[in-house]
Subunit: 336 residues, 2 copies
DNA sequence: GAAGGTAACGAAATCGATTAAGATTTCCTG
DNA sequence: CAGGAAATCTTAATCGATTTCGTTACCTTC
């Protein structure tokens, strides 16, 4: 391994000089800097992040946490998109990504300990169950964090515009003549709760009455569960003309159930999803949905976390809302 | 931050003793060990991975590389499954995961430099374009690697059983009476090449003639591209009775094209995918496909890499083939 | 009781890089 | 040309943990 010591010997200067030259310190003669840079290149020198981290107390390493058991893992397109963008932005800023898991290693470290053990400069909490003590310990710790779709006192968070998104979907259905809209929502988390409230409020403000049976709860990100609720909706004496699903993936479960019953989309019933994952636009008919700004959420999360890390003094926690976009698709049909 | 120095002061022993006690060295009195362990717990001590890495020359950190532009990224279910399992196994063994990207940071490090900069003990190359010089540089370097679905002289690799998988699919179609089987394959990489050869060989051994027009090339993991080839197949004077797609995701493109032309699956035509991603079994009809052992591939990759790292002497490169499983699904119909 | 053995612990070097403080040389300027 | 500022470079401590090689004290054993 080539170290600054090798360079210093090759150039006949001290290690300090090499370090400073490589880092652009102001008190090294330009000619010397050039000579050192040249040698570094010639020897194939690479700085050692570990050594630097130890000395300066900064690892240039940020942790990411994806651990929501309800499908909020990296295998979901929405989250993998977020992850990709966190990674891209972080790397652009010179930070590496380390995955933070729980029960890490033989010592079974929890999230906080894991992040600390790896000297993460900060952590992006992309999906997690905030009722879990281990998650709370991390978010309440001294480690800088950015939370996605969850606000926490004194912390920075990136929020998807769930209220506005749901409102747009409802209005879109309304404009297409729908007055009997059912909503299968996920278990009540802070996210699904917001969508539910927005759904109710928007319906009310449009003068749409929503019977109790039209509001159903399924398991978030779980097609099978949504399938069951869909069946229940079809059995109602007065069927809805439009069904909102908790998310795009869940819609697939509903879709199967509808097909099995010979109910065509959107001829016989209209549907909408939520998320706007790529898959939803590959299938035909293209799903009407609300595309969350996953790319921007990821990018912003990384950007704000790094900002917080690098300028801790002039830092104030903030809540950033990322706007998504209504994807009209073809599954909400004009009626009435 | 609590360090061994704090513990040593609290216990009135030297730092060396603390280190040894915590690491189970044989020359510390049991009573002392107990006392030190107790204090460590009381003070909330956490070892500093960075410092340890610097001293012992091992970071307990492995890199993962997902960078195939042809859809081999983390957003694909097949690859995210692999990743999840690499991560789980690695963490169980006490290793962290760092994502290796190219053009890293302000210095624009390539893969090798990036891995070296982070002192990765090894790298799992999960998806990459091996014709890329940056990838070759890494795989030819002194850094231990495990390669997925690609063999490289002197390197360990985990291979999916592409030959056997494709053979099983062809035989399954044959047993269901199909004699006119078309195959849309991906661009020729080492993986798709194996499947193509196996397809041809199996067909030949079963006495199935495969006209030139039945073999078509599409872009791997790209639904749109497969849709176009599907259209071409439908236009043939003698349509195939069964179409094999490059992969499950690509099938979706074909599916749309078939539906648009009023061709029903599997009543009018049979189809098969490849990969066995969860999505393929959510949709109805369930896709006939070959499920690659993604979980096992990930687990094995991590396990073998760590083995290689920890016992470099008694190490010999090996090729492990992970068997998958035929998923019969409902899209190949009995005919004839 | 002298020689040697062993158990338990400590001193100090080390990993690679950074950085405050100091040393040396160069260069002005009045 | 003396005095001091400016430019340039070095010394040495430091980050936290590991590890080699002692050292000390206490036993054995003949």
């Amino acid at each position: 391994m080539v170290t600054i010591t090798d360079i210093s010997r090759a150039c006949g200067v001290s290690r300090a000089t090499v370090s400073k030259a490589l880092n652009g310190a102001p008190d090294i003669a330009p000619a010397t800097v050039e000579r050192i840079r040249e040698q570094a290149r010639a020897l194939g020198y690479l700085p050692n992040a570990t050594a630097r981290a130890l000395k300066v107390g900064r690892s240039y390493n940020i942790g990411v946490l994806f651990s929501d058991p309800t499908g909020g893992g990296i295998s979901h397109e929405f989250f993998s998109t977020i992850f990709e963008n966190i990674k891209t932005e972080a790397e652009r800023l010179g930070y590496d990504i380390t995955f933070i898991g729980k029960d890490f290693g033989p010592l079974s470290l929890d999230f906080y300990e894991h992040a600390k053990y790896r000297s993460c400069d900060g952590v992006v909490i992309a999906s997690a169950d905030f009722s879990e003590p281990a998650v709370r310990r991390l978010v309440e710790s001294e480690i800088p964090t950015v939370t996605l779709d969850y606000t926490f006192e004194g912390r920075t968070s990136i929020l998807s515009d769930n209220v506005s998104g749901m409102e747009q979907l409802v209005r879109f259905a309304y404009e297409n003549g729908h007055r009997r809209i059912a909503f299968i929502h996920g278990e009540l988390t802070s996210v699904t709760q917001k969508r539910l409230v927005s759904f109710r409020r928007t319906c009310a403000s449009l003068g749409i009455a929503v019977p109790q049976e039209y509001i159903r709860q399924a398991v978030y990100h779980n097609p099978k569960s949504s399938g069951l609720e869909t069946r229940a909706l079809l059995a109602l004496p007065e069927r809805p003309t439009c069904i909102f699903f908790p998310d795009d993936l869940s819609f697939l479960g509903g879709m199967n159930e509808l097909e099995r019953n010979g109910v065509r989309i959107p001829d016989d019933i209209s549907v909408a999803g939520y998320d706007g994952i790529p898959l939803s636009q590959i299938l035909r008919p293209r799903l009407t949905t609300y595309r969350q700004g996953a790319q921007e959420m990821g990018t912003e999360a990384a950007r704000l976390l790094v900002e917080q890390i690098e300028y801790p003094d002039m830092w104030l926690p903030q809540q950033v809302t990322v706007r998504g976009e209504l994807v009209k698709g073809d599954t909400i049909r004009r009626i009435g």
